[in-house]
């Protein structure tokens, strides 16, 4: 006597089909292709370094003109005490700048999302900061601020804009139908922001942070070079300037190497975070 419950069902999709695993031959092929994809770049890189070493040795080039890779590495180990302190300084500047840029960029993007008028009135300032080369701003900041703060501000300025502009774009790019749905069910601004706009903006925001990570490093390096002063808080870029004055080219290369590695490290971390946050739903992070 129980009432018949209507079911809306389509005949063809009763269940998710789980993809059949590829045959052994195909799987082997895939693994081989992956291996080549990893091994080949490493091989090419190693060859390039080897060539560099060879050219320096065969031609007997002086270290103060072009040091061999082996010398760069040994200098890195020898001077690790000084260089590691500088590395920490640069890393710290970057991290603080990136954090402040994230907080500031997201905060202001949320304010922009509340009103078009506010966005229009404030956006020009952000654009002016962005288009004016940081090299040109740095000396000015050094006049007003002590060098540590000025360097931090420079890194912040360059990292801020991509986060702001990407998050603003993301918050504005919600599906209009979903927005209507929230309206229909009487959701307030706050709930719409948290439940709808924030998740829609997440991929854009993460893209912005990824760009900002690299830019924060550039900003810090540029400002350190402009500051050019010694002291307890001297970063990697200062070490480069200093080594240049002393014609200690191997050390210059070692510091440069550390800066590159820092950039790669930051990028990799941010890419990983982004992948972990988006992998369940966003096209950019789905396995292909």
């Amino acid at each position: 006597m129980s009432p018949e419950i209507p079911h809306i069902t389509a005949p063809e999709d009763e269940g998710l089909t789980i993809g059949t695993s590829p045959g052994d031959g195909r799987r082997e092929g895939i693994i081989k292709a992956r291996l080549v994809g990893v091994v080949l770049p490493i091989l090419v890189f190693a060859i390039a370094i080897g060539l560099w070493e060879l050219i320096v040795r065969v031609n007997g080039i002086e270290p103060f003109i072009l040091p061999a890779p082996s010398l760069v590495i040994s200098t890195l180990i020898k001077d690790w005490g000084t260089l590691s302190l500088s590395l920490l300084v640069t890393l710290r500047t970057m991290a603080i700048a990136l954090l402040l840029a994230t907080l500031g960029g997201v905060g202001i993007a949320v304010i922009f999302a509340q009103s078009r008028l506010i966005e229009r009135s404030l956006y020009p300032f952000a654009v002016i900061l962005q288009v004016t080369p940081i090299v040109a701003i740095a000396p000015l900041l050094l006049v007003y601020l002590d060098s540590g703060t000025a360097i931090l501000v420079c890194a912040f300025i360059v990292a801020f804009f991509p986060i702001l502009s990407n998050t603003t774009l993301g918050l504005a790019s919600t599906d209009p139908n979903l927005r209507d749905l929230f309206k229909l069910y009487g959701a307030g601004r706050w709930r719409e922001l948290v439940l709808l706009r924030a998740p829609s903006a997440l991929p854009y925001f993460l893209g912005g942070v990824r760009i900002a990570g690299g830019l924060a490093l550039i900003g810090a390096v540029v400002a350190e070079i402009a500051a050019g002063s010694a002291g307890h808080g001297s970063g990697l870029a200062y070490r480069i300037v200093e080594s240049g004055y002393r014609l200690n080219i191997p050390r210059m290369f070692a510091a440069l190497l550390l800066i590159s590695l820092t950039g790669i490290f930051i990028y990799a971390i941010l890419a990983l975070v982004s992948h972990l946050l988006l992998r369940r739903w966003h096209e950019s992070a789905l396995d292909r």
Binding site: I8, T9, A10, L178, L184, P199, L202
Partner: protein
């Protein structure tokens, strides 16, 4: 999930001839639920989407808005839902106040799911916005998902579903508040005919089971004649209603209804009205 596992309140507590409302009272079947009086809609870009529309939706109706693309069907539905203000005219609710209007479920032309949320969280949304906790809402969510035949897909993500399944999740989301007015904007237009027929039958039975009123937008003459108790035929430029066709046959209907005279007559009348409107324009 078996029928007995469903909460019994839904079908048992309601008198067969009444439709529940948010305010708790009932509008008698056949009485006006919402009336559009002389409603016009002009968009800021100057397009007149609707001109002097008169339409009465009665409690218990399965009303189809039928018309060619661009004639203002979606606009009319959005006006009823209150998603867009009218430029002129009034929309009157049986309660006398738009704030006390009945609970509305809306199904968009596209599934419109949140891609970052599981099926369960998508269906939960209307209740969440009404202040429910997930724990309280769970039975309702399960009920809605089994009504649309997807009880096992709570944890799935939207991207793992086919187009038809996404549409059914979207319908479950509209049903989860147990609305007394269901507004559907060409929900099956993107589906193949076989699936569409199946979903049509299910929708009719669902409507009877829930005792709700449906306004259903479509551009298919056959779909509207099969499903509706009344068809409002619309024409474009400006959007208006050119004919209302009553279909006197009880819901739910079955496949053989497609061979009955009531169905064939409704199809013929709707086609005549549409052709009439087009000829009139050609002779201008």
């Amino acid at each position: 999930m078996s029928a007995s596992a469903l909460p019994s309140t839904r079908s048992a507590a309601r008198k067969p001839d009444a439709v529940s409302r948010a305010a708790g009272e009932a509008v008698q079947k056949g009485a006006p639920l919402v009336t559009l009086l002389d409603v016009s809609k002009e968009f800021p870009n100057g397009v007149t989407a609707l001109a002097r529309l008169e339409l009465c939706v009665r409690a218990g109706d399965f009303l189809s808005l039928l018309g060619p693309s661009g004639c203002g069907k979606s606009t009319a539905l959005r006006l009823i839902a209150g998603l867009e203000p009218t430029t002129a005219g009034r929309i009157e609710w049986a309660t006398g106040d738009a704030k006390l209007r009945p609970r509305i479920g809306f199904v968009f032309q596209e599934p419109t799911l949140m891609p970052w949320a599981s099926v369960e969280m998508n269906v939960f949304l209307p209740l969440r916005l009404a202040g429910w906790s997930l724990r309280d809402a769970r039975p309702r969510i399960e009920e809605a998902l089994s009504l649309v035949g997807l009880p096992d897909f709570r944890k799935a993500m939207p991207r793992e579903l086919s187009g038809g399944m996404k549409m059914r999740v979207s319908i479950a989301r509209a049903l989860v508040t147990r609305p007394s007015l269901l507004l559907m904007d060409e929900p099956f237009a993107a589906l193949d005919e076989i699936t569409r027929f199946k979903l049509n039958d299910d929708l009719m039975r669902l409507k009877q089971e829930m005792g709700c009123t449906v306004v259903f937008v479509t551009h298919s003459i056959y779909e509207s004649a099969y499903l509706s108790t009344r068809i409002a035929v619309m024409a474009a430029r400006p959007g208006r209603i050119i004919a209302e066709i009553d279909i006197d046959a009880a819901l739910p209907r079955e496949e053989h209804f497609r061979r009955e005279s009531a169905y064939l007559q409704a199809c013929a009348n709707a086609a005549d009205a549409l052709h009439g409107a087009m000829d009139a324009r050609d002779h201008l």
